[in-house]
């Protein structure tokens, strides 16, 4: 067991899967010789050669479309979108093709691709290097969507995604790359897609979220326990499609007070579905209205520091929302 960075966990998952299965390969802009603009694919080109760590032309629809074609005839491509902000040209390939290939052929064909894309802000990336596009793809049946918050989950979920028989969007948080490190086993393991994880046990309030903002909730929870005697129960969705309904209802029922957090903007976000799920089944068990703390409904975050700070969640914002809910 070693403590490794989130980005290293992603890199190792690809490296190990490429060693395990000759049909696995990576493709994308700058993923070869350079090893990715963030360094996520570092060493793969050197170890596996240019045929399995493919530097593609700068054309996202082809990156997705070529991966889909290869996957349909038995390969296991891992396509990288350099920033999730740039994956929209590939949206037709993802939504009209990858998501529907099994369904439209009545199970004759399948499309086992993984599309990795960095999400999230906090790196002064401005409008187009900071977005969280989950809600664009969320609600498209046929797509699985994962968004890990820890190195352990990043490695285990990416391995599960590569082995999955259906298309998986792997949203990795670029702020987590070097900021988040945790213990990752040396031996092979997967984190099953579709299973949420209780990050912290508590009895006063429930926080449900995914990706980077959960770390703010964890820090806030420690301070609230110490200073206010409030014990937060924290659920990491890990997979945002399909949502782990059972785990969500169980976590909500545990405290009767639910705060949902994510960096993607509030309207039409994953949190809306989580809230609806709880409202449909548990409304009378709740002790407070369901709360959401999310990015504001503006097109994207600004590069200027006050604008970026305003958009992003942080420990203080999450803590104050948690305390307010605890006191309701």
């Amino acid at each position: 067991m070693a403590v490794i960075e989130y980005i290293e966990a992603i890199r190792l998952a690809m490296k190990e899967e490429m060693e395990r299965d000759g049909s696995v390969f990576v493709l994308g802009e700058d993923v070869g010789k350079k090893g990715g603009v963030f360094g996520t694919t570092k060493g793969l080109y050197q170890q596996f050669g240019e045929e399995r760590a493919i530097d593609t032309p700068l054309a996202e629809s082809a990156i997705a479309g070529v991966a889909i074609g290869a996957a349909m005839v038995g390969m296991r491509p891992v396509a990288e979108m350099q920033y999730s902000d740039f994956m929209f040209p590939a949206t037709n390939q993802i939504i009209s093709e990858a998501a529907k290939i099994r369904y439209r052929s009545n199970n004759d064909w399948d499309c086992p691709i993984v599309i990795r894309a960095p999400i999230g802000g906090g790196i002064f990336g401005g409008l187009y290097h900071s977005q969280c596009p989950e809600s664009v793809f969320f609600g498209t049946p046929g797509l699985k969507i994962v968004a890990p918050a820890t190195a352990y989950d990043a490695k285990g979920l990416l391995k599960a995604a590569i082995r999955d028989p259906d298309p998986v969007l792997f949203f990795e948080n670029k702020k987590c790359y070097r900021l988040i490190s945790d213990e990752v086993p040396d031996e092979d393991y997967i984190v099953p897609i579709g299973k949420a994880n209780v990050m912290r046990e508590g009895s006063d309030i429930t926080v449900i979220g995914y990706s980077m903002p959960l770390h703010f909730a964890m820090q806030a929870a420690e301070e609230l326990a110490r200073d206010e005697g409030v014990e937060a129960h924290i659920l990491d969705l890990r997979t945002i499609q399909p949502l782990d309904r059972e785990a969500i209802l169980e976590a909500a029922a545990k405290t009767g007070k639910v705060l949902i957090i994510h960096e993607d903007n509030k309207t039409g976000g994953v949190g809306a579905e989580v809230a609806a799920m709880i409202a449909e089944e548990l409304l009378y068990d709740l002790d407070a209205p369901i709360r959401r703390l999310c990015g504001p409904d503006i097109p994207a975050m600004a590069i200027n520091p006050p604008g970026e700070k305003h958009f992003l969640l942080n420990k203080e914002k999450v803590k104050s929302a948690m305390l307010e809910l605890a006191r309701y």
Binding site: G65, G69, A70, Q93, I101, R163
Partner: protein, 342 residues
């Protein structure tokens, strides 16, 4: 001319390596596609089916391109008018009829998709959709897989002239050019994208775009199926030899509306269409066979009777076949969990 033995005039098809049997089989496929297509139109007019889309006059070139390929190793990515193409690589009239009636036994999609959306893994026909040109990068990806695995396999993808303006055309061609992939891009230029004529689709020549991707682009007359066969066969040989992709532009003319929901006289005249109807390439190919001594009026009569029976039987069968039960419409969003590769 001094040659020992008798001087024998070799026919065009023989010079291309096509036996008499093969060239007759090509004719059969063209005529079968035509007769199926005509029945599809009638069934729509009669209100028996909800939709039909035609490939009339494009069949000879579709059959020719299929005959230039190897059905045991290659991959086929047809577009929605490609009846001649899919029949030539093994789909049956019964399969097409089941799709037309949207019945469960339809091998393309179990009656989920509109007719003309082909797919059959067994026949190496790759499942397609309605947003046009998405299949072009797929063909490139399939060719990439063939190259990575060292397989002697070529993918061939067709699309219309309208499609040549989509980004996926450019992105798929460019990627294939960079990696010298074994793929043949076939633009079936029938002069219309629904109502918009070629002159409003592009100023240049589609086949010439290949220059920009660094591989050959060839324009060929769709009314000359033997020439289409030659061009596609050579493209396949180049692909197998590791010389990369080819763009083939087949010139034809769409004599029907875009589909059964389109009234083409809203945007063009009968006078424009009529000469193309008169110059039917199936007639041209039949005349070729007759002149080569390979076909007769008797054989024609017999063939049409045979096809009529096949199509009648397929129509009856498909009409009576059950739909996929509504509850099964929720199946196959994802793999059944038992299929998960661990």
């Amino acid at each position: 001319m001094k040659q020992s033995g008798s001087v024998q005039q070799t026919s065009r098809h023989a010079r291309l390596g096509l036996s008499d049997e093969r060239v007759v089989e090509m004719y059969r496929m063209m005529q079968l596609a035509r007769k199926y297509d005509e029945r599809g139109q009638l069934l729509k007019l009669a209100g028996k089916v909800n939709f039909h889309i035609s490939g009339i006059t494009q069949e000879p070139s579709q059959v020719a391109m299929a005959f230039a390929m190897d059905t045991t190793t290659d991959w086929f990515l047809p577009y929605y008018r490609d009846y001649g193409f899919v029949l030539s690589v093994g789909m049956t009239v019964k399969d097409l009829m089941l799709a037309l009636f949207a019945k469960e036994e339809d091998p393309n999609s179990a009656g989920r998709q509109m007719p003309g959306h082909f797919g059959s893994k067994r026949l190496r026909i790759v499942t397609g959709s309605s947003p046009v040109t998405t299949q072009v990068p797929h063909a490139t990806g399939i060719a990439l897989a063939a190259k990575m695995r060292g397989e002697k396999s070529v993918s061939i993808v067709s699309f219309g002239d309208g499609s040549s303006n989509q980004g996926d055309f450019h992105e798929g061609c460019n990627f294939a050019g960079v990696h010298k992939l074994p793929v043949i891009f076939v633009c079936q230029n029938n002069q219309y994208a629904i109502s918009v004529p070629l002159s409003k689709q592009t100023r240049g020549n589609i086949y010439e775009r290949a220059i920009g991707y660094g591989f050959p682009g060839i324009r060929v007359d769709g009314n000359d199926p033997l020439e289409v066969y030659r061009v596609v066969k050579e493209a396949r040989e180049r692909a197998i030899a590791g010389e990369g992709p080819t763009l083939v532009e087949i010139i034809s003319y769409r004599v029907t509306g875009h589909s059964t929901t389109d009234n083409d006289l809203d945007y063009r005249t009968k006078e424009e269409v009529e000469p193309f109807k008169q110059n039917d390439p199936i007639d041209g190919f039949r005349n070729y066979l007759v002149e080569a001594g390979l076909w007769s009026d008797e054989q024609e009569t017999k063939l049409l009777a045979e096809f009529r029976a096949i199509i009648d039987e397929a129509t009856q069968y498909a009409e009576r076949a059950p739909f996929q039960p509504a509850e099964d419409s929720e199946r196959y969003v994802f793999a059944d969990s038992s299929e998960v590769k661990s």
